[in-house]
Every structure is written in C-alpha cells, then in structure tokens.
Amino acid sequence: MAFFNITSPHQQTKRRTPEIMQLVILALVPGILVHSYLFGSAIFVQIVLAIFTALIAESVFLKLRKRPILNSLKDYSAVVTAILLAISIPSLAPWWIIVIGTLFAILIVKNLYGGLGQNIFNPAMAGYVVLLISFPVQMTAWLPIQSMQAFPVSFHDILSLIFTGFSIDGYTVTQIKTSIDGYSIATPLETIRNAIHSGSTISETLKTTLFSSDSLQGSQWVNLAFLAGGLFLLKKRIILWYIPVSFIAAITIFSFIAFASDPDLYSSPLYHLFSGATMLGAFFILTDPVTASTTVKGRIIYGSLCALLVIIIRNVGGYPDAVAFAVLLANMCVPLIDYYTKPKAYGRKRT
C-alpha cells in the first residue's frame, strides 16, 4: 500500500518567478488595451520606453554589483515594474518623465535595497510618487477620452509630443488638453476635488458638461478591464484573495461612512471603486509579493489599511488620487503587521 504525501500548501503546479511575472503582464493586457482604445495609443510608447529603461538600468546595476545579469533580467520583474509605472503616468508626458521614474524605481527603490525580494517599498509606486512630487505640471496633464479631445492626435503627433513637447502642428499638451471652448479636463477625481474646493457640491458637478457621462465612463471602463485582469490572476492563484477583497470591501465601507455623513462633499462608494487607480491597485499593486504582508490576518489588515488611507487622502488630502501614497505608507507598516500577526505554531498556547 502506498501513501502519497502532498506537502502543504497543496498547490500542484510549481511556478517560478518568470512564469508568475509573465502571467501578471498578461493580466494587465485588457486594461492597457481599453486604455489605449479610449485615450489614444500613446500609452504603448510609454510602456516601450519604460521597459527599455528598466532593462538597461537593471543590467548596468547588476554589472556594478557583480551579479549574474541574465538571471535577473529573465525573471521579468523589472518589466512588470516598468509597465505598472508607465500605465500610472499621463500618456503624453515627456519622455524624460518616464525615464527618471523608471530609473528611480529600479536603481534606488529596488536595487539599492538588494534587488528583487529585498525592497521595502513597491518600486513602481515609489517611482510614481517621486514623479508626482517632483513634476506636478507634467504629471497632471491627463487627456480627456478621444471623442472629447479638441484636436485629433495622430501617432506621429504622439511621438512628437512625447519626445519634443509639441505636436506636428506645434500644439503643446496643455493646448490639446484644453478644447476650443477654453475649459480643460482633468481626471474625474481631480475635477470633483477642484469643484468642491470652489464651493459646489458633488451632485452639481456631476451634471456639468465638463463631467459628461463620456469622461466618467472612460476611467470606469479602464477600471473594469483591470478588474477582469485581476480576476484572471485570482483564478490562476497568482494572487490570493485576502488583499484585493479586504481592500475593496474596506474602500466600500469607509467611503460609505464619508458619503453617508455628507453626500455633497464626499463621493459615493461606487464612484470610489471605479475611478482612479482603485482596481489596478487592488489586484496588481497591493498584491506585490515582496512588499505586501505575508500572513493571512496581516494581508487583511494591510488591505484595509490601504483602503482607509486611500479614502482619507482622496477625501481630505491634497492629491486627487491616493493609491500610490497609501501603498507606500502601508508598505512601511508591513514589518510591524507581520510581526504581530505571525501564526502560532500548533500546540503552542496562545499568549
């Protein structure tokens, strides 16, 4: 009689890092496609630029550290970081924005701490925060969705805008962003923030032309696409459900508390769930296996903490979106969370 012992945690397929990273990239594809369909194909230029910068930076640094270069390049982790950063920034930002952000993420946040697996902070989000703090003008130049853009932007225009700052006809990003009527369009989160600061209520803002259903739907569709990609990752068991579910549930709860207290000042839970980087954050950024908490309870605490920070920063903070800041702040708490949620060994008394 033969006994087949399976060791915990009972996962039959043994995945290596490159395979996991490839699946993550695959899961990002629907979001990127929807984004490029709605907002133009500039995002591909940014992704290519980011990947090139990341690979070059990684190999140069590994050479300096006298580590095998190919091994690290082949695990695709730098590529994932690059893609996450590229889809977080405005697609028409000048080329040096994404280059500086990627260099910072790869060199300082990842490799100075010892490379993959050693970094405390999520590299992509740290790079994003550096860019947002350093270059507020370029980092808030979001384009409205294509049907609302003042001038048609061809692929040549995109290349020209990214590398020289002007389109073929000589328009800047700000001019393209601002339509003939002279109003400019920010992301939905930003529009609401500005409207509330100037004294109007949310229900009023939602009715204005600035905020027509098209523009709102833009970011909603992108969020839905990332949600689909995230569900694929869940099904493939690349990520576990604790962090995304606790994050999304906590976002709903916390934003509902604020919404219930004053619906004219704070947006509804549904709005918070499908705007900004909520879904991208829930499935792709918070779940970074290196910087997130590793215990079951810890993951739930980590997800909820991020959600609380996101809602606080979105509602009363100085920046329109908050996922990046929330992730970095929660990253700092991870060692503490892990320390206090360490599972007790079987048979040991609870203390």
Binding site: I100, I108, V130, I133, S134, F135, P136, V137, Q138
Partner: protein
C-alpha cells in the same frame, strides 16, 4: 539632550582623546584633521546635527551660510570651554557649556541679522537652533573640557570644517538637481560683489522638486554616506 550628548561624547572620547595624549604635537594636529574631516566627520559618520543639515541645504548659499555660522560657534565654544575647564564644577558642566554655546549663537544670530539680512531670513529658525547641534556640545564635552586651548581651537576648526564640507556637498548636489544652478543668491551671504559666482549648470523649465524637498535631502544624504563607506572599504581592502 543631555543623555544624547553624553552618549555621543563617550564614543568620541574613545576614538580621539586617549590616542592623543601620547603623541607628539605634529601628529596631534594631523590626527585631529583626519578625525574631523573624515574618520569622525560629524555630518556623515557621527550623524550629528542632522536637522539643520537636512533642512537648510536646499541651496549652496544656505548651506554655506549655516556651515560658516556653525564653524564660528564650534571654534569659539571650544576655545572658551577649554579656557574655563579647570574652574567649572563637574556636576554643572553641561548647563555651563549650553549657556556658553547659546550666548555665542545669539551673537552670530545678531551678526547675521545685521550684515546678511536676506540669508538670515532664509535660514530662519535654523540659526538659533545651532544651540541644539549635538556636534558642538559633543566637542565641548569630549574634547575642549579635557584639552588645552590650542588643540581645542584646532579641533573645533576641523570638526566645523568637516560639518561645513558635508553641508556644502549636500547643498551643491541638491541645488544642481533642483534648479540647475550653483551659488544662487550668494550675494545675500557675501555681498553684491559675489554675484558673479552664481552659475547655471544647465537650463531647465521644470525643476526636480524632490531634490529641493526634505525627502530628497534624506536620499542624497544616504547616498553620500554610502559613497563614503565604499571609499573606506576600498582603502581597507588595499
């Protein structure tokens, strides 16, 4: 603060003073310079006075201004404390040292208010805060209260120069990264004749704000310390 300075002074005492007493004069000065500028640099090795070090180094001019002020205070306090070292009861030495340093800082504050008014405004609270710079009271306790005036003055000079050098390095790096200039606003420190020193390293429409903000200071400071450690390791490997 008392506890802090005492713990720092213990470290400094071990490193410098015991070795110093037996050596001849020339090598004492050499040793003091080496300790102050490199091996026990208050900025990047002892990490003393980090608050002004990180807060005011957003431009080279600010860094230079604060560095010179600190240099003056540390030399003067070392000399005064060394002069009175046999007359101060041990039990109340720390309050006495703090009083002396505070008076010196008040002097430099009034002087800067009178002669470099714009720099005085841009350094703000960090001039009076020189009093709390642990480097100064650390040198008073660890060195000046145990050594003669000449050596104390030289120790103050070298420690002050070491601190100023770090300030200048940090200030220059941050200013170049953030604005692409060097010595911007130098006329507020040295007078109008010095305005030719302002130079533009590169022109940029958008400044790299992070370098001008406190987080940038922390990151660049960390990199400077890392470079120093690399150099030390290279030397010890040889």
């Amino acid at each position: 603060m008392k506890q802090q300075t005492e713990s720092h002074s213990e470290i400094a005492t071990e490193n410098t003073d015991q070795a110093l007493t037996e050596k001849n004069t020339a090598s004492i000065y050499k040793e003091l310079s080496f300790q102050g500028l490199w091996k026990n640099n208050p900025g990047i090795v002892q990490l003393l006075g980090l608050c002004p070090l990180l807060a005011v180094t957003n431009t080279l001019t600010n860094a230079l201004g604060l560095g010179l002020a600190t240099l003056f205070v540390v030399i003067a306090s070392n000399v005064l404390i060394s002069l009175i070292r046999h007359h101060v009861p041990k039990a109340i030495r720390i309050p006495v040292f703090v009083m002396i340093i505070a008076s010196l800082v008040s002097c430099i504050q009034l002087l800067m208010n009178a002669y470099t008014y714009h720099l005085y405004l841009s350094l703000g609270i960090f001039i009076p805060l020189i009093v709390t710079n642990c480097m100064i009271i650390g040198r008073a306790e660890a060195f000046a209260s145990k050594n003669n005036v000449k050596h104390s003055a030289f120790d103050g000079l070298m420690m002050g120069l070491g601190f100023t050098a770090v300030l200048i390095l940090l200030g220059a790096t941050r200013e170049v990264l953030a604005q692409g200039t060097l010595f911007d606003g130098i006329e507020t420190l040295l007078g109008d004749w010095a305005s030719f020193m302002t130079m533009t390293v590169y022109n940029t429409d958008t400044s790299f704000l992070l370098a001008a903000l406190p987080p940038g200071a922390f990151i660049i400071m960390g990199l400077i310390i890392a470079i120093k450690n690399v150099i030390d390791k290279k030397i010890s490997d040889k």
